[in-house]
Structure formats: structure tokens, C-alpha cells
Homo-oligomer: 348 residues x 4
């Protein structure tokens, strides 16, 4: 089977580099186009941006010339790791020109006909693509993945919908890579905590979660009625967003029923054995001091959500800790899994 | 006025050293006795323990011989920074022998006739001392201060009792100094988060808070009916416990009313102008990204609780961030303020 | 005595803020003018820049309007914490207009008639000011302090000149505050070491040191003949540049003679009892694991150089560790001490 | 080919766990015996020690019972990651009983008939084993690898011997994992530098290096005449010891000749294509700010030494930066490579 050529928008940024790293040995997709801002245009990738990951920069990407972030020469399938300050217009231009944009940017996530996808949770939301072209006037399509903090919460909550999920409160402890590069100044975060994340992070958690967990009905997504309260903080960790989560559940399940629900949770990516699908999307850890970013964030290539410390919550019903890799499961890996699903569903 | 001689139990530990640092230039109290474990007994303090604070170790303490942790030669007033594994028995022995123990240890905090004191919040609980001697069979007395995470929560909540405080949920991000020395291994916490703190930390937050906020009635403390849910985590910060806090308030006050309640909050230490009393026990910060440990923890000698980010909570009523210095307002400074209050109230 | 009004160029930067903090309670100098880039011009200081230090921002500075970095309205004495990309031209303009610029910037340090001053080491170099006006065509004057890494090395070496100082090799471990704000990205330095510092840091160490240690002869400074080799690295520390230093000394003194030379080292600031002068410019620590940034950097207000671990060096003669506070003794505090000396020498 | 059974002494420690991780998928060696201290004896490994690495603990090791650190039931080939406080006696007992001990401990490194091996550098030193049995009275044998800081220096220097290596001065910035577990207290190292490493670290660097670089003559190793001066410091980094190194070279080669020497350096492990051999033992990086622990330490499974920043040294001849993974190339991986070489040389 010949490789499917893909492009990367925002290739020089933190998420763009993570796309390159994850696609270096991908069985289906091959990076054949790089788009970035004017500053990088016309340079070889290796000269346009310092490589900031510990895995090796593939030679064929290193030597590739970065092009303007305009449609035309890009392959049909384009991953977007663009900064939200520019993603809206650029992604729209690509969609209008017929490209399929699988985006990590926030700009189009909440549009009614744009799937906000976690393939294990709401693969059926892809049917929105049937009407997206007409609704938006696009020849191509846009599919999005959630904010990096949302994905941790939404995946941990998805298996709890069956218990009558009513309310959830989350305080996140988020890694610095979530802020891109250069992102947070070292002076601000070294041995410190910043109890706020800009760009409407808490609002994203409170709204995106409801769309992801929502049900498809008559061709549109009805938001899940769960009430969400989020506080988002930044901590000096490289990778891995941790959430301290409480939930109110109408049906008052036992702790064992909840743990079973997490452990048996599976979805389309596992059924289809997609290349980036973790064997078990959610792993429950029984040690009292887990999950931890430094020990658990890379499990199964960073695509697994690790959960632990399930306890009774005196205010709601239960509380627990969840952790996910913010630039893999929460960004580049999420988009790649979305594209893998679309490929197998015949949507590319 | 001659200085009041004081002793320090557990003088070589992290809290013991903080006692020494804070008392170095105290206007009333003078350190004249040091007690520690057998390992240190008979050594000059400077040889018994490495000094781990950035402030200078006073010469008169450095050269003082550390004695056994037994009553007898100690002054009447003794501060205790003992580890909880030994504090119970040792403090009891001192109280039986007639000493007044002002303790940071958890062991006696929840005993009915032992005040669990935050002088701005519940100075009236000191009347428990009238019956403590008889109830416990002690010639001396024991007074305690809260756990270092509790004090941040309890002070932030105290001014909210007037609004019908019903429920609170807190996730803490706690500094490493709270674990003593050597405490947390660097391998475990460098660029990491540990979502658990041993020794029943969460239970302490959920129970001590109710006693502190409780009302005195007929000579005993009735626990406050607030429902508390706590998750406690460790982050790579030197000093300063941060709390992400939500509250349910029966009377639905406006945000301004809450901020006014915090800013106008004051108590006996301020009225009596105690040496360690901060001018304003609670400071509300209006910047969107505050309070932060590195910027706010040392305010007014580390005795102020900094609060910020008051917002509506979709699940309860309001949410906010609070921060306090865990080894000063949450340990040694708290005990010293307790002793200052007792001195001015004629209880020493 | 009425306060001497002073201005601060580059007031919003890391060094500018340190100037403001150190001058908040200064007995002689009072901040009455703030200059910064166009972006800040016309704003109140509190709106022009986030305050990034843990000490309180004085109200009279917070409310002061930031002005353009042009001479005219500024007081005669102006401290400069300007970035080197703009400091050259701006400082020259101020000097031409008659201001006395006491600068932390590198731009004029190596000019023959500009003193590169450490008051304890080369206070006599101030006589260069006699000829500077004519030589440079300035109505005012410029005095500079060394690079923040140089000051640690130069102060530790100054007392060793008497032993026939021939060679020195230094590897520095430098704090992030030395890079200004936002400076080093947290992604680059968290739990990492960067073995390089931009802007010609190593060359500065190798050249400035020779000028500082040099002797005045016939109105000009002859460079000290010491051969210097420097490697400069960045480590995740807030404040404090550590140097691992080896020296070759012609006269082969004993270790005790070297330690005595450090401990007895003193200079004009101590004689004149300048407000910012540390009682002992160099402190030698006998503990085997000192000096350390977290324990020693703030000694005597950050104006003392801490030295330790003197040992025989198999390659040169001796080796040791030295530490200094980079934004105080190595920047703002250094400049203030320079101005204090100039005031007492009648040069303001 | 059937797997070769191996044992691990000190299996629960930091180096022991690294042995387990590296051997999890080894093509030749299979872990079939675990020895540790009395505290762990009789427990399943998973209960004896918390697993502290981010790679998965293999099930067959997790469930294996930890045995006493005494010979008898162990396989012939035993890796030792014992703490030096006990390694001397225990390893001797195993050697006497006929085991082949491939040790990371320092205790036997400097014994005349014990190879102190870096396979790329001094594979010929293995001939010492011919006389070791008789000399030491052992039925088995002991082979050692260098201290974790030494290996970085010795590998970087090995290709420079051809240029008349006379002197070297090194300042190390060493990772916390080098101190084992719990090792350095977080209070001591978070956002700090400790300019000293206990256990004679600097002396090890100054002596082991000479033995490793030495030549075999008449069945014994003559030490290399290079003069070595070392300063060792601890920095808040997880993995990776960085060295700032200067060298004096009699033949004054050009920089290009030195870089060529590093890049073309190869040895027996590469010739024999040993499983753990990196393709290129030394990689020279041309970026101005490399090598860095976070970007370079894991290159080729952590078995490569990364070098960069070659410059003229004003005091000696050249200076540069070198980096190696301290628990892989500097400990467990080093020992495994030693055993692989011995296997292929017919010495197991």
C-alpha cells in the first residue's frame, strides 16, 4: 500500500514538532509538506526551527523546505498545529480549497458541524462531515481534537456516563509543553505554581467536555447535560496534565463498578486496531500515589489515560486522579488517531 | 521586660529550624533549651544538624547543647516541632510535668479539650484550657495549631461563615518543605507531581477544618457543619501550599461581598498587635494569575494568606485560589502566634 | 540631608526591577524618574510591567509614569539596566547631555576611560573620570560594573593577586535571572543544563576580569596579565552564579594564607561604611558542600561573595568554588554600590 | 541459542532497576535471579521495591522472589549494582564461589588484576582475567565499569591520546540519579546546585581515568600519565552527567583533527556488533548550545557520549563539553556491554 502523503501546518511549533516525531515511522502517513509562518518560509526545516524533542529529527523532514501556510501545493490531508491566533482563517482557507484538515487548534472546535473527536468516545460524531460541506460552504473538511486538558477529563468521564453523570469538578496541574514554545518563562515557573492558564482554558474545559460527551441526534450533537467546573493551573512538569476530579453520579455505583467501567472501556480505535490506538484507552492504577507524570505519562506511546486514587467524595460522589500526555494524547497523537479513524472509515 | 525563656522540641528538624529562625529576633521569647532525639543529644546544635535555611543560624543557638526530649530542665513554655511518630508521648510527658506545650504536631489536635488554634479565627477556643488540666490529668497544658494545608483553607473560609458556609472542595498543591527533611526524594518530585500525601493528609483537612471553624458552647467546641472534600498533592515548590477551593454558600453573596469579607477580616492578634500578627490576615489579589508561591508566600513575614481568582463555580457557588506559607503560617509561625496570644491573655 | 534623586533606565526589566527593590528604602537615593522603551512610555509603572520580585513594589514607584529613554527630564544621576541591544546609544546620549550614568550594561565597559568598577577591588579606577569627559566628548560621565559572572570571579581573585596570580580557569553554573525576562524558556531549562550562554559571555569573563584586576598607571588602566579561560553554563536556579575555579599562583602560598587573604579582604566601601557595603566582601565557608545558591546567595543582602572548598589542583595550583548573587552583587546592587562610592568621593 | 541466565545483585536499587529495564528485551541475557538486602529477602520483587522507572517492569521479574545476597543459587553470570558500603565483601564472596561478577560498584575497580573496562577504550584489559584468579584467590572473576562521571571523561579523552594527552581539567554537572534512591533530598537540590559529591567522587575521576586510559604491558595495566583535576557538582537533572573539560595536548592538533578523532572513534563493541553497542560511541554536535541532558542523553539508548563546543582554551589547549547517560552508559548499560564483550570473547 503506498504511503498517504500528509502536510503539517504550524510545523515548527511545539505541536508541529510532535507531529513530525510521531509520524517519523508511521505505517500509513508520510510527511511531504510543511507549512509555517512567513519567518520560516523558504528555509530548510532544520534552519527554520531548533528541534526541541529528544527523539531524532528525521532527515527527510530536516531537509524539506518550509512553505507558506497557504493551500495549493499541500497534500489533501493536512494536520494543523497552528497557533489559535492564526488557525481560524488559515484552516478555513484550506477547507475551502478542498483539503481535509485534522486540527489540534481550538478555533473550529465548537462549530456545530465540526466533529470534536476522541475516537474511543464519540467516533459517531464523524457523521457531521456529511453536512459540514454544505453548512460551511467548504469543499474540504475540518475535524478537531479537544484541548489538551479536556481530553484527560473527557476520557475519564466517558465510561461514567452510564452511571448518570451529573456534575464534575476538576482542578488541573498542567505541564509547560501545553503552552507551546517559548511558552512559559522559566523565571515564572521554576519551583513555582501559576494558578491560571490564559486563552480561556477553564472555559474550554467547561464547554468542550459537554460537546464530546454529547449524543448525536438527527444529524447534530446534543451537548451532554453534565455540569462542569474547572480550575486550571500550571506546574513545572515537562509533559502530562494531571486532573484532580470529583463526580456526581445519579446511580451511585460501587467503586468496583467504576473501576470496571474504566478498565473495560474500549472503542473504534481498538476494534479497528488503528496504528496509534493504545491497547487499553484507560488504565486504572492501584498504587496509592499514582498516576504521576514522570512515571505514567509515556504509557503506550503516550496515548493512554492513567487513572488512580478512586475515593468517596464527601461533596459529590467520587473523586479520583487522571493523567494524560498533553502533546500526544492531548494534541498531535490525538489528531493522528483521528486521521487513522477517518482513513479506515473511508473519509479521507 | 525580661525575655521569656522558651524551649524547642524537635529542634533539629525542618519545623524546629524554622522556630529557631523566627525566634532569632523575637521581642518576647528567647530560645534557651533545645530538645531532640537521642542521636543529637549532647551535641552542640551546629554539630547535631546541618542548618538548612537561608537565614543565619544565631550563634547562641548554634553553640547550645541539644538535650534529651524529656521534661525537667526545659523552660515552662516549650514549642514542639516533633515528628508525629513520637510527639504524642513526649508532649504528654511534658504536659504532665507542668510545661505549656505549644505544638505543631498533629497528635493532640483533635482531643476535645485541646485548642486547635488560629488566633484570628477561634481565639475564644483557648477557654478549653480551663478544663484541659482536669480532663487530661495534666499539670501543664497543650495548645496546637492546624496542619499546614488546613490553615490555608480554614483562614480563607473563616470570613465566609457569615454567608452560610455549607460545603467546600479543595485540591491542594503542596510544597516539599511540608514533608520535613529529608522528606521527598528529589528523584520523585523533580519536574513531577505526586498526587498523594501520606499520613492521612486529606482526612486532616476534612476534619481539622470543622473543629477550627466550630463554635464554643458550654465549654466545648461544636464542629462546624461544613462538608469538606480534600485532595492533596505534592508539587516541586520549596515553600507555600496552594489551594484550589470551591464553596457552597447558603446566602449567595455577591463577589464583592466575599472580597470585602476577606479584606476586612481581622482578629485578636491584630487588636492586640501581637509581634507576629500580619497587618491584614487575608490579602485579596486582583491580578488574574495570583497568588503564586514564588511571589506571594513571604508576604508580611509569611503570616498572611493570599487569595485570588474569585469566580462563580458552576457546581457549588464560588471558587478561588488561596496560598499560605506552610512552615511559617502553617507551622512554626502559627505556634509562635499562638504563644504570643496566650502571653497577652495571661495564659503563660 | 535631602535625598538624592535618581532615575532608572530600563526600569521595567529584570535588573530595572531589582534597582527599584534595592532603592525602596535607600538612605541616600530616591527614585524619581523611570525610563523605558516606547512600549511602556506614558503608562504608570504598575501597568507597564508585571512586578516579578517577591519584595513589595513601592507605591510611589508603582504610580509613577514611565517616560521615554531620552535625556532631559531625568535627574543627574541615572542607573541603567538597559538591554545591551540599546544601551550603547542611549547611555551615550545621556552622558553627552550631562547625566552621570551608573550602568550595568556591557556596552561601555571596555572603553579605556570608563571605569569598570568593583569598589572593593579597584576604587582607584574612578580617576579615569578625570579624563573621560575630554576623551569621549561627554559633559556627563559613565561608570560601569562588571558582567554578573565576572564579578564572582574577579572578587575571588582580587585577594590572590598578591600571590602572583598567573592563570585561572572557571566553569560557571549561572542562574536564569541573569538572562533577564522572559529570558530562558522553561521548556529549555527545567531539569536541564544548557552548556552555553549567548552574547559573548565567555569572552566577557576572559576580558573584563583583566581590566578589573588591572593597575592604574599614568591615568590609564593596564590590564592584569592573568590568563583566563571560561566556560559558562546555565542551570535551573533563580539567583546565584556559581563558579568552579582553578588558579595558578607563582608564589605557591599555603591554603591558610589564601583563606586568610579572602577573609581579611576589605576595601573602600567598608572603610567608608557605604550603605550597601557588606561587612566582609568575601566569606569563606568551611562546610564541605558550600557555597550553595539556595543557602548562601542572600548573605548580607546579596552583596557578599561566598567561597568554599579550597583544595589543591593537580593541574594548576588551587581550586575552589565561589558564588555571588547575580542580580544584586552582579548587577543592580553593584551599580548602587558604585554610586554610593562616587557620592562619598564627591563625584556626583 | 538458549538465553544466558543472569542474576542481579542490588536488584531493588536505582542501578539494579536500570539493569532490569535494559535486560527486559535483551537478545542474550535473561534475568533469573535477584539478590538484595535482608529487608527485601523473600518478597516478590514488586513488593520489595517501588518501581521507579518510566519503562514497564517486566512481569517475570515483578513476580520473582528476591533472595539473599549470597552465592549459591545465583547463575554463573551476576551483574552487581550493590551499594559500595556492602559491595566489597559480597562481590568477593561471589567471585570466590566461582561466579563472574560484572560490577558497577567502585570497590574492586582499582585492584591491579581487575579490569576497569570501557569496551571501546580498553577491551584488551580483559587479559587481566588470566591472572586475576591466581592473584586474588578467586575461582570466579570480577570485571568492573567506571564511575558514572569517569566514563564521560574517559571516553571523550580516549581518542585524544594520539595527540599527546598531558593534562585535563573537568568540572562536572551531575544528575541526581547518580546518587541512587532516595539519594539527594529534594529540599537540597530543587532549583539549586550542590558543589560537592560525597564518596570521594573527585578522587575517583582523578584516578580511574588514568587506569582506563592506561596501556597493558607484561600483563599489567600501566596508568596513563595524564594529569587530571576534577570538580564534581550536583544539579537538578534526572539523567545525564555533563562535563566542562579542558585538555592539554602535546601535539597541538587542529580542531578538525580532534573532531575527526571523536567521530571516527570506534572499538570492539562496534566491530563485534554487540547488542548494546551504539553505532558511534562518540557523537560530535555542531550546535552552539549542545549537548544538553534533556535533548541528548538518550541518544542510541543512552550508550553514546555526546560532545560539543570545541574551542581553544587560553590556559590549556582546547576545551569542550561532554555528556553521557549516568545510569546507562555510566552504570547498568556499561556493565551489560562489558558482559556482552566477555560473552563474544569467550570469557563467560
Amino acid at each position: 500500500m503506498p504511503a498517504i502523503p500528509v502536510g503539517i501546518l504550524g510545523a515548527t511549533g511545539m505541536v508541529g514538532q510532535q507531529f513530525i516525531a510521531l509520524l517519523a515511522h508511521h505505517p500509513w502517513f508520510q510527511v511531504e509538506w510543511l507549512g509555517a509562518s512567513q519567518r520560516s518560509e523558504g528555509k530548510a526545516f532544520r534552519d527554520a526551527a531548533a528541534w526541541r524533542l529528544s527523539s531524532a529529527l528525521p532527515d527527510h523532514v530536516a531537509n524539506r523546505t518550509v512553505e507558506a501556510a497557504t493551500p495549493g501545493r499541500a497534500p489533501k490531508l493536512v494536520f494543523s498545529g497552528l497557533d489559535s491566533s492564526v488557525a481560524g482563517e488559515i484552516e478555513t482557507a484550506f477547507a475551502q480549497a478542498g483539503h481535509i484538515i485534522v486540527s489540534n487548534s481550538r478555533n473550529h472546535r465548537m462549530e456545530p458541524t465540526v466533529p470534536l473527536l476522541i475516537p474511543e468516545v464519540n467516533a459517531d460524531h464523524l457523521v457531521l462531515l456529511d453536512i459540514q460541506g454544505t453548512a460551511c460552504g467548504w469543499k474540504g473538511r475540518i475535524v478537531t481534537n479537544p484541548n489538551c486538558a479536556v481530553v484527560v477529563l473527557a476520557m475519564a468521564l466517558a465510561p461514567l456516563r452510564q452511571f448518570g453523570l451529573k456534575t464534575t469538578m476538576v482542578t488541573t496541574l498542567q505541564a509547560i509543553s501545553g503552552a507551546g514554545y517559548p511558552g512559559v518563562a522559566s523565571w515564572d515557573i521554576l519551583a513555582n505554581v501559576i494558578p491560571h492558564i490564559g486563552g480561556g482554558e477553564e472555559e474550554k474545559v467547561e464547554t468542550e467536555t459537554k460537546k464530546i460527551l454529547g449524543s448525536l441526534s438527527h444529524g447534530s450533537v446534543g451537548f451532554h447535560p453534565v455540569t462542569v467546573s474547572a480550575t486550571t493551573t500550571r506546574v513545572p512538569v515537562h509533559h502530562g496534565h494531571t486532573g484532580s476530579i470529583s463526580v456526581g453520579l445519579a446511580q451511585k455505583p460501587t467503586p468496583d463498578a467504576i473501576i470496571d467501567a474504566w478498565r473495560s472501556f474500549t472503542g473504534r480505535p481498538q476494534t479497528l486496531q488503528l496504528p496509534s490506538a493504545p491497547p487499553q484507552p484507560i488504565v486504572y492504577l492501584t498504587e496509592t500515589n499514582r498516576p504521576q507524570p514522570s512515571l505514567d505519562v509515556d504509557r503506550d506511546g503516550g496515548m493512554t489515560i492513567s487513572v488512580g486514587r478512586l475515593r468517596t467524595c464527601p461533596v459529590l460522589d467520587y473523586k479520583f486522579i487522571a493523567l494524560g500526555h498533553n502533546t500526544i494524547r492531548g494534541a498531535a497523537g490525538a489528531a493522528i488517531l483521528n486521521a487513522e479513524l477517518m482513513h479506515r472509515e473511508g473519509l479521507l
